[in-house]
């Protein structure tokens, strides 16, 4: 149990850094449509106005 606990932090740090880099790479390579389009307009019912 103790050895697997010690494994979690390095694994978590590496995975989250890699994920972040993947996101940056995707953004740079042009895959920004999804997030940007949601930022331009807002779905009313989605924020509880309805």
């Amino acid at each position: 149990m103790r050895s697997s606990e010690r494994f979690v932090l390095p694994a978590g740090l590496i995975l989250s850094i890699l994920s972040l880099l993947a996101g940056i790479l995707g953004y740079v390579l042009g895959d920004s449509g999804e997030v940007l389009r949601k930022a331009a307009s807002v779905c009313l019912e989605c924020i509880g106005i309805g």
Binding site: G33, R37, S41, C43, L44, E45, C46
Partner: protein, 270 residues
């Protein structure tokens, strides 16, 4: 006992928070269209040509996006309400917030809607937002009268009953969620049929507008296919042009061929 109650407190809180999900599922009656391809156009120019072809009829502009789930829920609802309205209103649904058209095309391929869908790219979307003073909210529905003026606008999705009411009496008073700019001649509506440019047609149209206000007049050009099919939906005679027919609610007068006859017809309906 109190230990059990306090241990389960988080479950109770969770169940309370889940109430809106339950309400959503309970009230959810999925309006479907039966599928099939819909008319899918791209570019603001396509929208402009639809608006030009619809001149004289009310136009309902619905602004949506493929990622806006309530918007997607509203499109089949509009379709169902349209069938009930008898063709008085032209609906155009504009996808104004999808930078990429692929999701739009995928949806349109099997949406089964009987009105056109138009996708616009981001720069055109900005122009449209300025042109119609659109807020950064979705969905937004704007009702235009026959002359292209704004009659009412609504933000947020509405249900079928709402749109059926709206489209069965587009020139009439709206509910508290809308703003009325049109006439308030107590439900008087005049349909004027003829060729634009024909002086008799123009005289009838002017008299109709004086009697019913700009929001209470619909103009039909029988040589235009959409107008022709709308006329048959509304049971307007397809001969004897030009003429004007006045209706108050479901009661209609005989077709009038000159302004004086139109005035008499309107008076007889009151």
């Amino acid at each position: 006992m109190s230990a059990i109650r306090s241990e389960a407190a988080w479950v109770a809180l969770l169940l309370v928070l889940l109430v809106p999900v339950g309400v959503h599922l309970a009230g959810h009656r999925s309006t479907t269209t039966g599928g099939g391809p819909s008319t899918a156009l791209e570019g603001a120019a396509a929208l402009d040509s639809i608006l030009a072809a619809s001149s004289g009829r009310h136009v309902l502009l619905n602004f949506w996006a493929t990622w806006c789930t309530p918007c997607m829920r509203e499109l089949p609802v509009l379709d169902a309400a349209l069938s009930a309205s008898g063709g008085r209103v032209q609906i155009v649904a504009i996808d104004i917030a999808d930078p990429d058209p692929s999701a739009f095309r995928e949806y349109a391929a099997d949406a089964g809607l009987s009105f056109p869908l138009v996708w616009v790219e981001p720069s055109e979307a900005e122009d449209l937002m300025a042109r119609f003073s659109l807020p950064s909210l979705l969905p937004v529905t704007i009702l235009l009268d026959g002359g292209g003026g704004e009659v009412a606008r609504f933000s947020g999705a509405r249900d079928e009953a709402f749109f059926t009411d709206l489209m069965s009496d587009p020139g009439g008073p709206q509910d508290s969620a809308g703003q009325v700019h049109g006439s308030d001649h107590s439900g008087l509506h005049v349909s004027v049929v003829g060729t634009p440019g024909d002086p008799y047609f123009e005289a009838l149209a002017a008299e109709a507008e004086a009697l019913a206000g700009a929001g209470g007049v619909s103009l039909f050009d029988p040589s235009v296919p959409e107008d022709s099919s709308a006329m048959s939906d509304l049971l307007l005679p397809s001969s004897g042009f030009p003429y004007a027919q006045a209706c108050v609610g479901d009661a209609c007068g005989r077709p009038a061929h000159d302004p004086e006859a139109l005035r008499l017809s309107v008076e007889s309906l009151r």
